[in-house]
Amino acid sequence: MRLFVVALVWALGAASVWAQDSADSLFTNPEPDSQADTTQKVTLDPFNGRSINFFETLDVQGYYISGYRQDGTLVSTPVDALNFGFGTDMRLDRTARAYASLYISYPTQNSTNTYLYNPYQPSINLTNSTLSFSEILVKELFLDYSLGDAAIFRLGRQTLSWGQGKIFNPGNLVQGIENGIAAKMAAALGPVNMTLVTIKNDSQYNINNGVSLDSLGDALLLEYSASQFSLGASGFYNSHVGGKADGYFKTSVLGADVFAEVLWEHGTAAQMSTTGVAGFFRDFGDDTKWLKMQAEWLVSGEGSTGSFAAVSDQNLGFSDQSVGVAASTELLNFMSVKPQVAWLHSLGDGSGQVIFGLVSTALPHIDLSLALTTVYGTPTSRYILHNPDTENRVWSLTLKASFNFDIKSSDGKS
């Protein structure tokens, strides 16, 4: 052990000396200072000509999840997922672009996003002798148009997320945009950035007569940043859902990023709800971050059955508080292993979830993961009733292997 420490100290010291010597050698015959060449300028539009790109991705994942339900039953499920994606990215000139990302998947009910800890995919149906793939699904399909330097428009199926919370994010007023179609406009009004979105997503907003104008959800976000803080305000309105207003403040304190956000909701039946979330992110360590930590505190007005499409009538106010902590370390980076831990806890009913995970990226294109998950609480508590594991295990071990491959081809500019 002592030998190892001595060797480590020597290696660090030697590396430093070599670094200093190498730097000093650059000053033996330095080029004289001179005037800058200003004949050329860097382009603002890296894609300023006609071009077309094709891309393909293959994502194969296999899980084995084994664990116990609250009644002691052992449940083990193999789960797999296979996504084959393909698409095109076409640009006519600096103003117009058309983008399409499509995919087929197995199992057919598979989500496009598969998570280590929340594998929602159904387990393999061992009675089927052939694989049944989904029809072609649309992940993104949109048209971009730049109106000079004044505004950028995007029309079609697209992804977007608002809100400051990484663990709890009630401020995402464009929730569900990826499952509908939307028109987005972004512009800079002096130092204020503005984003205006109109979303068509009938299932999200509980709309049956989906052709009318009032089926659209309209959202606006204004953001301003100064050197020491950022402010943001957003709003949403749909006549079937009601109105939502959100405001956040973000700054740095003692090296930590700190935010506070408040959401007010006003339902169509005059229900009122207020939700608050505050949190911080801090990393520790100079070069290798030995700890990266996110912690958030949520005072929820959503109740246990709250959804975006309706203001909850179960607003428990300060009786309904939750905390969440997530942490990871880079100490095992030299082995290409990343340990992570997350803890979610409802102060209202004492239920929660703890997840410990290890992800190895040592092999090219292949991620290997191991996760130990426990969900605790009384049988009627939030995390037991809304267990993210569809098999309702309260202790489980997940082994996962995933293979990802993507390739792009281009015809260059023409």
Partner: protein, 254 residues
């Protein structure tokens, strides 16, 4: 007793005078390389050498609005990374990636830029006077340069390096820089032997960053990772405000 008060008074006054002087010097250094009265854009050609792993090259577009604490960095080469970008507004720094999905990640100015030996904070305006205080001074010859060597310590936690050491020539240009951890471990050495004058400011022609920790022992000799970058295509032409938005990065992504 009066004598003691007198000595203390003289010492305190001397110390205050020195602090003010150093603050002014750091402000001069900052003003040499900052553009508070205009926008600034440049093309950065970066070359990172990792012993035993080869050389990687990147071309990056840098767009700065120092007066509003904003910058955008857009990768232009290699083609696979084209469109990947960074947006900094105040204390917020986002990285827009396209693989495996197109998404924004909150990142830190302290983090490495694209797995190189440069940090994201290397490309913001210089804020030495706001971030550091001088703890000692000496004189040193650095190649042909007579330099003043300042040892600095951070006065708050929002800096990339807790301690730093500067070699400054009489024209208030930093020719060499060493960055240290709080414990005093050398993390990297940067050399800027020559500058290019541009609109009354000075931009390093080439920056060489030698990582003191990252590297590999080859044939019994430790070889440090090295990143070199040059800055060209300099301009102070006004930039459209729209480029300092997430939407601009989305539009230019692949």
């Amino acid at each position: 007793m009066r004598f003691i008060f007198l000595v203390c008074g003289i010492l305190l006054a001397g110390s205050a005078f020195a602090d003010t002087d150093y603050k002014k010097l750091l402000q001069k250094i900052d003003s040499q390389v900052s553009f508070l009265d205009s926008d600034f854009s440049a093309e950065i050609v970066m070359r990172t050498t990792k012993p035993g792993e080869g050389v990687s090259e990147r071309t990056v577009g840098l767009f700065r609005r120092d007066r509003e604490e904003k910058y955008v960095m857009l990768l232009l080469k290699p083609d696979n990374d084209k469109g990947k970008g960074y947006l900094k507004i105040g204390n917020n720094l986002w990285l827009y990636e396209t693989v495996p999905t197109r998404h924004f990640t909150v990142t830190s100015a302290k983090d490495r830029f694209q797995n190189s030996n440069a940090r994201n904070s290397d490309f913001t305006r210089s804020t030495l006077a706001e971030d550091y205080s001088v703890v000692s001074e000496s004189k040193e010859k650095l190649g042909p340069f007579d330099t003043t060597v300042l040892n600095l310590e951070a006065i708050h936690d929002d800096v990339t390096f807790a301690k730093t050491k500067l070699w400054i020539t009489s024209d208030n240009l930093v020719r060499k820089k060493e960055d240290y951890s709080l414990s005093g471990q050398l993390l990297r050495t940067s050399a800027m032997p020559s500058y290019q004058e541009f609109k009354g400011r000075f931009i390093p022609k080439k920056v060489t960053i030698i990582d003191a920790l990252m590297g590999k022992t080859l044939n019994g000799v430790f070889k440090n990772e090295v990143t070199e970058y040059t800055m060209g295509k300099l301009s102070t032409d006004p930039l459209p405000s729209l480029i300092f938005t997430q939407t601009y990065l989305e539009k230019n992504s692949q």
